[in-house]
């Protein structure tokens, strides 16, 4: 089976700086893949190249058999890639329900005339969209009471969930989560991890996540890719990656690498 997303020799240069250099990797359909690396490793740049915010300087990004280099973000979303943001980017002054409805925008078809004259098909579409939005809010664990709450007034954890609901509303095949548990307490993190599993299992999705929290990444990902200074340095099962000396070195510096070989790096103890 062909992989859902395939990156072939992706490179991104900003002027003289090469943020991502010749990275190739694949995501199998139905898998949960983690993309990790120290700060400045090029994770988010890579993410932005998938979603169309940046165009790769070199290489090909192939989604579902289609080359998507330089496709506009809205078109990429339409093809089936939904995303969340590292620092939450909800539509702050719209209600939770409206946020999810906006997510469904690219799956709706009513045109201007349909809107102005509120045709039966527009009403039906709107009603269905609304029901789906309510269902999605419930699915991610936001109660009915939150539906009319302004997004900016929701608690932090709920905002993260709402972002997931909004991304799911675009009917993605591939869901990109940019540090979904950033700033969450352990309880919220566990709940979100559980949600990611559920999303994958019940909705037949493929998930790519960037994460700093090693515990989350190692616990949830089936495969992990490690970037450091724009270069892919390791790839494989979480357990393999964890003990890869290059990874340990990238995270903790050369001094620790030797120690890491012996007893495993301290950061990964909890994993």
């Amino acid at each position: 089976m062909a992989p859902l997303l395939q990156a072939r020799g992706i490179t991104k240069r900003f002027g003289g700086l090469t943020a991502v250099s010749d990275v190739s990797f694949e995501i199998e359909k139905g898998s949960i893949v983690g993309l990790i690396g120290p700060n400045g490793a090029g994770k988010t740049t890579f993410f932005n190249m998938i979603t169309g915010l940046y165009t790769p300087s070199d290489g090909d990004m192939i989604f579902n058999g289609q080359r998507i280099n330089g496709t506009k973000p809205s078109e990429v979303t339409k093809l089936g890639i939904g995303r969340t943001f590292q620092n939450i980017r909800l539509f702050a002054h719209m209600t939770a329900l409206e946020n999810v409805l906006v997510g469904q925008h690219c799956r709706m078809h009513t045109g201007l005339l349909g809107t102005l004259f509120r045709t039966p098909s527009m009403r039906a579409e709107e009603k269905a969209a609304r029901q789906k939005a309510f269902a999605l809010l419930e699915y991610v664990g936001l109660g009915r009471n939150s539906a009319d709450e302004m997004a900016k007034n929701l608690p932090y954890g709920d905002q993260r969930r709402l972002e997931v609901a909004r991304a799911l509303a675009t009917d993605p095949k591939l869901l990109l989560l940019d540090e979904p548990t950033a700033g969450m307490n352990p309880k919220e993190t566990d709940a979100l991890t559980e949600l990611i599993y559920r999303v994958r299992d019940e909705r037949d999705l493929t998930v790519l996540l960037i994460e700093h929290d090693m515990k989350v990444v190692m616990g949830i990902s089936e495969r992990v890719t490690v970037l450091d200074r724009g270069i892919k340095i390791s790839e494989g099962l979480p357990r393999e990656v964890q003990t890869d000396p290059k990874v340990v070195e990238a995270y903790l510096g050369t001094g620790h690498a030797a120690k890491g070989k012996g007893g495993g790096a301290p950061v990964f103890d909890k994993a």
């Binding site: 980017r89 906006v102 690219c106 102005l116 009403r123 709107e126």
Partner: protein, 583 residues
């Protein structure tokens, strides 16, 4: 004590105003002191927290009624009645908004109390007017009451002889109608019907009745009201661009001009094309919408300040273009050089240059015939229809896929893009829709005024429109309408009439003292200061309430329209039943 500062500020302002009056117009001293005291007392009451909402609402709306009564009183005392009605209605709605009552009866009582307070305020202002201000302006209390009785038809029928009785009657009348309308407004809103319809009825009724009251009382309000409504229509269109889509447009008057000039060119003897207004208004709207696209396309990558500068330029260019399209003597040629080759173009006077286009044909209807400039009533109703349609369709646009896309783009353009919204199309749609409504406004304006000049569409029009949108509350149609009524009402009604009142008072005083009437005080000519006043109001607003008078509230009610109620059980059940949704 957090309110102390406010009491002190209000007191200080009141003291300054009172001193000014006493110093300049000693014969006004008593009335000024009385009225100033009341206003200050009301403001203090408003600021102190524990006051019931209905009293606050009554006071707020009542002050509007009182100001209207005093400003218009010397001309048309009957305005007091309308002011009492309107402020009662406003008070009822305000009271309801602040403390909604589910029970229609309780709501009616709440509205009646608020309405009565507002109406009584207006009535009180009537007394101040009759015994203090009118005499100061050279009208005796008796004359004033007589004027009033001409308006209040019943006063004659009831045989109310004395001035006091007529005044008392008017007082009671404005209090009663205020209370009734307030009660009706409140009760209607709390009915378990679809919320929009009774509310709409309550608001529409006085709006529709104004021409009849106006004619019965010979108040000549329509002359001022029609331009006010036109500006509100324009502000509603601007609100799409600025309020919903978040694109700061400083040249919106350009589209107004385009609509008006399209109408003028196609529906006047000027170019010999004399099409029917009913066709031309659509053409004007379409041309304006296309102009919106034309402006939108090159400005797509621009945001915030940069967009504002470009739109500002556009707003300046369009009137200049219309001015220069009329240039040259008849039969003259304009010579252009194209790669050195001179090309002569016969100059056609398209727009009449500075002289504008005059006359423009009025609309024609089978039963009414041509709309006459002297009879404003058909114009008024035509405009109400246009505005009603505009409000109706803008509402639909906002509560739709397109409207949500505008708002998402306003909130976060990048996130909107990432959620699958085509930002280019969404921006262009906002520009063209906004422009389209001002095209309608421009077409009506051209036909109504009957003559247009490039100077009617200068920068200040764009700015005043923007002020209306910001004052009322960005992105909220009710707010924009209220903001428009306030700013345009001040511009076209209160300030001119207030200035005239000042002038009359000053003249009377000068006559009494046997001095020259020339060069009294600069304040008499308030009309010269109107832009200063708007500036002050805007600065104060930005400091005190930057979100506008009626900010975009949580849209709970709108998201749960009763016709397709999604109650929690049914959706949960459906979600369970439908595996594609739940699982």
């Amino acid at each position: 004590m957090p309110n102390t500062k406010r009491y002190l500020t209000t007191g200080g302002v009141g003291f300054a105003v009172g001193t000014f009056f006493l110093w300049n117009y000693p014969n006004l001293g008593l009335g000024a002191a009385l009225l100033g005291g009341l206003v200050i007392a009301a403001l203090c009451l408003l600021y102190s927290a524990p006051l019931p909402d209905m009293i606050k609402a009554g006071l707020i709306a009542g002050m509007f009624g009182a100001v209207m009564t005093i400003v218009y009183g010397t001309h048309k005392p009957g305005v007091a009645i309308i002011a009492g009605m309107l402020s009662g209605l406003g008070a009822g709605l305000l009271a309801f908004q602040r403390s909604p009552q589910a029970n229609p009866k309780k709501a009616a009582i709440l509205g009646a109390e608020a309405g009565a307070i507002a109406g009584a305020w207006t009535g009180l202002a009537l007394f101040v007017m009759a015994f203090v201000i009118a005499p100061a302006a050279g009208i005796s209390a008796g004359d004033f009451a007589e004027h009033l009785s001409e308006t209040v038809i019943l006063a004659d029928t009831l045989g109310l002889g004395s001035d006091i009785l007529i005044l008392l009657f008017a007082f009671g009348f404005s209090t009663l109608t205020g209370a009734l309308l307030g009660a009706a407004a409140c009760a209607a809103r709390s009915l378990p019907l679809r919320p929009n319809i009774p509310l709409l009825a309550v608001i529409a009724l006085p709006v529709l009745l104004i021409p009849l009251i106006d004619r019965a009382g010979n108040l000549l309000l329509l002359d001022a009201l029609i331009p006010i409504y036109i500006f509100i229509l324009l502000a509603l269109g601007l609100n799409i661009v600025v309020g919903y889509a978040g694109l700061l447009d400083l040249g919106y008057a350009a589209f107004f001009a385009i609509g008006a000039y399209t109408t003028a060119m196609l529906s006047s003897p000027h170019l010999g094309i004399n099409l029917s207004f009913w066709l031309v208004i659509w053409v004007a709207a379409a041309v304006a919408a296309i102009a919106g696209l034309t402006l939108g396309a090159p400005t797509l990558p621009l945001r915030g300040d940069y967009l504002a500068i470009v739109t500002l330029g556009f707003g300046e260019i369009v009137p200049i273009l219309f001015r220069s399209l009329g240039g040259g003597p008849p039969g003259g040629t304009l010579t252009l050089r194209f790669f050195g080759m001179p090309i002569g173009i016969e100059q056609v006077d398209l727009t009449g240059g500075n002289k504008g286009i005059n006359p423009i044909s009025p609309p024609h209807l089978p039963l009414i015939g041509d709309f006459e400039p002297s009879n404003k009533i058909p114009w008024y109703y035509l405009l109400i229809v246009i505005m009603g349609l505009a409000i109706f369709f803008i509402n639909r646009l906002r509560d739709s896929r397109q409207g949500r896309a505008w708002m998402a783009m306003r909130e976060d353009e990048l996130a909107a893009d990432a959620m699958g919204i085509n930002v280019v199309r969404t921006k262009l749609l906002a520009f063209s829709m906004g422009a389209m409504f001002s095209g309608f406004g421009g077409a009506f304006y051209g036909a109504f005024i009957g003559a247009i000049f490039p100077s009617s569409f200068d920068f200040s029009v764009s700015i005043i429109l923007l002020c209306m949108v910001i004052l009322g509350g960005l992105g909220n149609m009710t707010g924009v309408i209220v903001g428009g009524l306030l700013i345009q009402g001040a511009d076209k009604m209160f300030i001119p009439k207030g200035a005239e009142l000042f002038r009359r008072i000053a003249e009377t005083k000068a006559r009494a003292e046997d001095t020259s009437t020339v060069g009294v005080s600069a304040l008499q000519d308030l009309t010269q200061q109107r832009l200063l006043l708007f500036g002050i109001v805007l600065v104060v607003m930005m400091l005190v309430r930057p979100e506008g008078l009626l900010p975009n509230e949580r849209r709970k009610a709108e998201l749960h329209p009763d016709d397709d109620t999604i109650n929690s059980n049914s959706v949960a059940a459906e979600a369970e039943a439908d595996p594609s949704l739940a699982a």
